[in-house]
């Protein structure tokens, strides 16, 4: 049995027509100016795909191109065509169409968050504290100003923290609370992974008459630190970026922006989960301190009234769960 092919000599763009046949584990190439015998083990054959012609690279650098549709079956059987079989199988492709979204969802919603949770305890405390120092340096330069609270007020708040920190059962023992003024952030509080918690003057002003509410906010922030949410966010966004790069592959031009917005929705959903976790931590601590858990709801309501109201679409795209659901959660914890 023989097959026709085009034969290109090594390094040459000239070709000649040849006949191929297989005999006792050897490929015989014969044409007007060629007569070669090559052991089958020394051939490099392109794996079969769609109806692309088979190409055979010879050890000397020569190339054989078979006409479309014809192939040396003796060679093919030696060459696993499982992938090609799957790609040509309608049923396998429909199954893939079902499995791709399922697996994708599984990885994004379950796999990556679990991985993030398990990786984060591996980060040493010294690294986290160095993050705190550097972030505070950048923030102080860019969007924070020294607090304008007077010495006495600061002292009073500090004593309150100290008292409650002493009573908490904490994983980390290096918490510090800092006061800053921030026109750009407004009434706000945030926590850094090393245990630095920043409260803005604006927030204290907003919640002035309600020590319980301030405590609720701080408990919420401590919850972020205790659960290592900062590290989890880093791990999660890294994993999502890698996933998108290699699964979706070469999205061209603008389509890339589309995959980018998908990534940020995924990340915001993840961050909403973390906020909920910090809320439940705060509620648990409030209960331990015999403070009504509605204090958290009060604080959230006051803050949200201070910020802009969000509608349904924005809620979905936001990094925080809706205020209504969080207030409800705090009240029901009663």
């Amino acid at each position: 049995m023989s097959t026709f092919a085009k034969f290109f000599a090594a390094q040459s763009s000239q070709y000649q027509d040849v006949t191929l046949s297989v005999e006792s584990q050897q490929l015989i190439v014969s044409g007007e100016h060629v007569n070669q015998r090559v052991s089958l083990d020394n051939l490099v054959i392109t794996p079969p795909m769609a109806n692309l012609p088979q190409e055979i690279k010879l050890p000397c650098g020569g190339l054989l191109v078979l006409p479309k549709g014809s192939e040396l079956s003796q060679l093919n059987s030696r060459h696993g065509g499982v992938i090609d079989w799957l790609e040509k199988n309608k049923f396998a492709c429909l199954l893939a169409l079902l499995l791709v979204p399922l697996c994708f969802y599984g990885i994004v919603a379950k796999g990556i968050p679990k991985l993030a949770k398990e990786m984060t305890p591996m980060v040493p405390i010294s690294v986290k504290q160095s993050i705190d120092r550097q972030v505070m340096y950048v923030f102080d330069e860019l969007m924070l100003k020294p607090s304008e609270l007077d010495e006495n007020t600061q002292q009073r708040w500090q004593q309150l923290w100290q008292k409650s920190l002493d009573q908490l059962d904490l994983q980390q023992n290096n918490y510090q609370v800092l006061f800053r003024q921030s026109p750009s952030m407004g009434a706000n509080a945030f926590a850094l992974p090393g245990g630095t918690i920043v409260v803005t003057d604006e927030l204290l002003k907003l919640l002035k008459n309600n020590e319980d509410a301030v405590m609720a906010v701080v408990f919420h922030e401590i919850g972020h630190v205790e659960h290592q949410h900062g590290m989890q966010l880093i791990a999660e966004s890294l994993a999502t970026t890698l996933l998108m790069t290699y699964v979706l592959g070469d999205m061209e031009g603008i389509a890339e922006l589309y995959s980018g917005s998908f990534t940020s929705i995924v990340q915001n959903q993840f961050s909403q989960q973390l906020e909920k976790e910090a809320d439940s931590y705060a509620v648990k601590q409030l209960q331990a301190f015999d403070i009504p858990t509605s204090a958290l709801g009060d604080a959230l309501l006051a803050i949200s009234a201070d910020h802009e109201k969000l509608d349904k679409l924005q809620q979905y795209l936001s990094s925080h769960p809706s205020i209504e659901s969080r207030v409800k959660f705090a009240q029901q914890a009663q």
Binding site: S13, T46, V100, E252, L257, Y258, L313
Partner: protein, 358 residues
């Protein structure tokens, strides 16, 4: 050995057939199977998937009765990919853990950028072959640094007046350093064309922005009255998304102006040394429509019709490209150095360093 005086064939160039035979259904099946395998192997199979995807497009592109071949092996890609991922993860973690180190790394990356462009082009061209002869890229770091970094920055200080000239230099750098076997691609680009194309692009942009602004004003979305928001008749939340969509529309249409003019010019003005001449017949309307409809296809199918968009693009590009070959085509020799690795290409890929001739 080297054939230094080929029979000086009469310099007649003959148009040859150039076609793309990829089919949407067939490619979709290949694509979906490869995406699934990539996911279930947690990304490891992506190297094999890349090779299969590339092979499909190369192998279905036929010039003068011969197909193109993609030569990279999955293992080659995988090795580069593993190192690239390690580098990227280190970069990401280091810049998250220390903003200061992040800034330093960004600076290093900036200077690595011209190197990555060259390495990536070199790999991709060396892995491309036609008639058993490979392509190559011989651009060097120094010249790349000048063209991709120094001159663009310098053009900022001229209020972008130098930018069209810089863009011409970049295209010239990319084409004239490309080789098919022992033959060099020789461009004769005209600076005037780049200024003309840039000028029309700016005009198109102004025109597009004004048109959309006017349309929005008519629709009353641009300036919703406070009462309208109060009554909930106009959602203020929708506005940013409307603007985003308009931005995409404007960008797609306007970029089609530049791409069309410059690509047509580049192809007409480039000759593969005594072997091939080229022509390109992109048109602004058809290219803008292709890109817009492809974007819609990808978005509304949630990404699952990406293969359709890619096949449409390939058909358009090949269908509007003309190649004329000389008798000399038989005399091209592959004299390209053997070693090449995928590291530069893979690092460029993950850090999103992307350079392509339009």
């Amino acid at each position: 050995m080297e054939d230094n005086n080929p029979p000086k064939a009469a310099n007649t160039f003959v148009p040859v057939s150039f076609s793309f035979s990829g089919k949407t259904g067939e490619y979709w099946q290949i694509w979906i199977v490869n995406v699934l395998l990539t996911i279930v192997t947690l990304g490891i199979y992506s190297a094999w998937a890349k090779v299969r995807n590339e092979r499909y497009f190369y192998g279905n592109t036929e010039l003068d009765g011969h197909r193109f071949s993609y030569l990279a092996t999955p293992i080659q890609i995988l090795k580069g990919r593993i190192i690239a991922v390690i580098l990227f993860v280190s970069y990401y973690l280091l810049s998250s853990f220390s903003p200061v180190a992040g800034l330093v790394l960004m600076l290093i990356l900036l200077f690595a950028f011209p190197f990555l462009i060259c390495a990536s082009l070199r790999f991709n061209l060396r892995m491309s072959s036609y008639r058993n002869v490979r392509f190559d890229f011989k651009g060097q770091y120094g010249e790349a640094l000048l063209n991709f970094l120094v001159l663009p920055v310098a053009s900022l200080f001229t209020f972008y007046l130098l930018l069209p000239w810089v863009l011409k230099r970049i295209d010239n750098f990319l084409i004239s350093n490309s080789y098919y076997g022992d033959r060099q691609f020789k461009p004769e680009l005209e600076t005037g064309q780049y200024y003309f194309a840039s000028f029309l692009t700016v005009i198109a942009m102004i025109f597009a922005v004004m048109t959309f602004g006017f349309a929005l004003g008519l629709a009353g979305i641009a300036m919703p009255t406070p009462e309208a928001i109060e009554q909930g008749s106009v959602s203020s939340a929708i506005l940013p998304y409307v603007i985003l969509v308009i931005y995409f529309l404007v960008f797609t249409v306007v970029s089609a102006v530049y791409t069309t003019m410059i690509r047509n010019h580049m192809f007409r003005q480039t000759e593969l040394d005594e072997v091939a001449k080229f022509d390109s017949s992109f048109s602004i309307g058809s290219l803008a429509w292709l890109n817009l409809s492809n974007l819609a296809i990808v978005i509304f199918s949630l990404g699952f019709a990406l293969p359709w968009a890619k096949i449409r693009k390939a058909r358009y590009v090949v269908g509007r490209t003309e190649v004329q070959l000389n008798e000399n085509k038989e005399n091209v020799i592959d004299n390209i150095a053997e070693q090449s690795n995928a590291l530069g290409e893979e690092v460029a890929n993950i850090f999103d360093v992307d350079v392509a001739l339009t």
